[in-house]
Symmetry: none
């Protein structure tokens, strides 16, 4: 968003400068006018493409904006959320325990709580629901 503002500001400034230049030049030279017009056309065309690509790219790479509010609403704690992420990566309870440097018992507790909060019967179902609720990346 801030980038877009800067780019457009720069465009407006460039316009002003061009107006200034054209005022001094078009009386003396004739070719420079067409040159200026052509250049401006090309530049603005490219800028249009560039801006559009930027904005569309952000929409494409953000179809999965994580809904932190929903995580809070469900009462999922920080640690539980970490476990949820690792579950979705296909890790076993033991592997998650080793990753987070805690015991497997602890992970089992977290997973049980997660299943309750996500209203799921299995970790695979928890993964699916979490993605539907947009609290996990697709």
């Amino acid at each position: 968003m801030r980038k877009t503002i800067f780019v457009f500001s720069a465009l407006i400034i460039a316009l002003l400068v061009l107006f200034r230049l054209s005022r001094y030049s078009y009386v003396s030279e004739d070719i420079s006018i067409e040159l200026t017009i052509g250049s401006i056309a090309v530049i603005f065309f490219l800028v249009g493409i560039y801006i559009n690509k930027k904005t569309l790219h952000k929409e494409k790479s953000r179809p999965t904006q994580i809904d932190h509010k929903k995580i809070e609403q469900l009462g999922i704690s920080k640690r539980e959320y970490e476990v949820l992420i690792l579950i979705s990566k296909g890790l076993s309870n033991k592997e998650i325990a080793d990753t987070l440097f805690v015991s497997e018992s602890t992970i089992k507790t977290h997973v049980s709580n997660l299943l309750l909060k996500l209203d799921a019967q299995r970790r695979t179902q928890a993964i699916k629901k979490a993605k539907e609720l947009q609290i996990l990346e697709q």
Copy 2:
């Protein structure tokens, strides 16, 4: 984001209008050149955005194309693939068995074969790998 673009476009147009008005107020000169330049800039800018949107639209409408060739390459059969889809929906072996009207033993066999073919140790890992391989919708 799109709003910003429109707002700034409007600003540029307003600038052009202002230039025109200011010209009539004190200089009273021919301003057709500046107007032309400005119009061309805006038009080409919009054309750039339009063209880019057209070309990018194709990519956006195909975010998760299932790679049937990869399914074949991995030697995953029709029935195994059905099971894989139901696994990714969070169903248990028993639920999958009831859905496909076969016994749980059959599903276990399919799952075991799937894990081998996907080089996974757990069904959760199979889900993740299958999505990475684009043989399952995200």
